[in-house]
């Protein structure tokens, strides 16, 4: 150990804030409630082509034929999402019944990455109707498949939440959930980096998982991207 190392070690020491111990104790006494318990309250309707409607609270599943498979898949994926084990959905969505403008808005909303937010005005600009922020709000408000099409990731330009079909509380909780769910997970056994929710990644135990900030970071320490879920660093 040379002198440089010793000096650096001294430099690295940080005084612990006096509030930390109390905060940790309080947090351990009453852990925050999880969203996973709400999974049963989501109900789905599906056609042959995909999930066409998602309702929260009272309701029941509605599907026939191939649609039943979509409902099963949607139910499983939403449950995983609420438990913080999934960051993307693979179940097909059927937006057959919506008008052209709304279709455009919903398609753009689906491009907002997990864990980030956008504003109604920004979304309006992106679809080429910069003055249509309110129309965008209406289109999202009538979103037939909330959660799967992440209209909760759209908030007001001034930073406040705005409305949500399932209530402001749930919007907040979904955004908090996304804020604390890691996006990229590496499996230490295979050195493969996946998006959280990939079936390959889900098979790994909790003690075999490490989080990465980007696919490039992961590659830098010898992890290759998964070929099933194909994680990419598009936002960077």
């Amino acid at each position: 150990m040379d002198r440089t190392d010793d000096t650096l070690r001294e430099l690295f020491a940080v005084p612990t804030p006096p509030t930390l111990a109390g905060r940790v104790r309080a947090a351990l006494r009453e852990p925050a409630p999880t969203l996973a318990a709400l999974a049963d309250r989501f109900h789905f309707e599906a056609t042959e082509r995909g999930v066409s409607r998602l309702v929260y609270g009272r309701g029941r599943d509605l599907a026939a034929g191939r649609g039943r498979r979509h409902v099963e898949q949607a139910r499983a994926e939403v449950a995983e999402y609420l438990a913080g084990r999934r960051t993307f959905f693979t179940v097909p969505v059927d937006l057959g019944g919506v008008a052209a403008f709304q279709d455009q808005v919903l398609a753009e909303a689906r491009r907002i990455p997990f864990g980030t937010v956008s504003s109604y005005a920004a979304l309006a600009r992106r679809i080429g109707h910069p003055r249509a922020a309110r129309a965008v709000g209406n289109a999202l408000g009538a979103n037939p498949v909330p959660v799967l099409v992440p209209c909760h990731r759209v908030i007001r330009g001034d930073g406040t939440w705005g409305h949500y079909a399932f209530g402001a509380t749930l919007k907040t909780r979904l955004l908090v959930l996304e804020r604390t769910t890691p996006l990229l997970v590496g499996r230490t056994s295979t050195r493969i980096v996946c998006r959280r929710g990939c079936r390959d990644e889900q098979r790994a135990g909790e003690d075999r998982r490490v989080v990465f900030a980007s696919v490039a970071d992961a590659a830098g320490v010898g992890y290759r991207p998964c070929q099933v879920c194909r994680p990419r660093d598009d936002a960077a």
């Binding site: 940080v14 804030p17 351990l28 852990p31 050195r191 909790e206 998982r209 989080v211 320490v221």
Partner: protein
């Protein structure tokens, strides 16, 4: 591991975890938050803790996972290229602290984490490798790279080079 044992453990480690988180995230609020979240995660998963792991490895794994994800959200550009040699700073002792924070910000994320774990708690290569799920050789090369960038940044930041 029962609840009381875990609470004791959390108290023992909170300070060290905080130091690492602070060095990674650069501010007190985020660091406290990260420690709390990491400990809560471990608390929730305490039943699945296997004693073949060192407790510190387990806790640091959880902490680094939380911190790394936090850094992802910030989308910090971490190319060493961004390092500016002409950064004007005061060479005062107070300046040295600020310098370290700024200098650390120029170190790429993965290397920064290893540097922080290494200098705060003196963890060895093997433990660092287990915490991050990488090979010992990768630890060595990343750590060396991180140290080199850090030292260069500290010198550029007006340090007199006497450390």
């Amino acid at each position: 591991m029962d609840e009381r044992a875990f609470a004791r453990l959390a108290e023992d480690y909170a300070g060290r975890l905080y130091s690492v988180a602070y060095r990674l995230l650069g501010n007190r609020a985020d660091a406290e938050d990260a420690v709390q979240r990491a400990l809560l995660k471990c608390f929730a998963a305490r039943a699945s803790y296997s004693p073949q792991w060192a407790v510190s490895t387990w806790l640091y794994r959880a902490l680094t996972n939380v911190c790394i994800d936090e850094l992802r959200r910030r989308r910090i550009r971490t190319d060493g290229v961004e390092l500016r040699a002409e950064t004007p700073t005061s060479p005062s002792p107070v300046g040295a602290r600020v310098d370290l924070t700024r200098a650390l910000a120029t170190v790429p994320r993965e290397a920064r984490m290893l540097v922080a774990l290494h200098y705060v708690d003196g963890l060895d290569y093997r433990e660092l490798a287990t915490i991050r799920g990488i090979s010992v050789n990768t630890v060595k090369s990343q750590l060396a790279r991180g140290k080199a960038i850090l030292k260069k940044a500290l010198q550029a930041g007006g340090h007199d080079g006497s450390y």
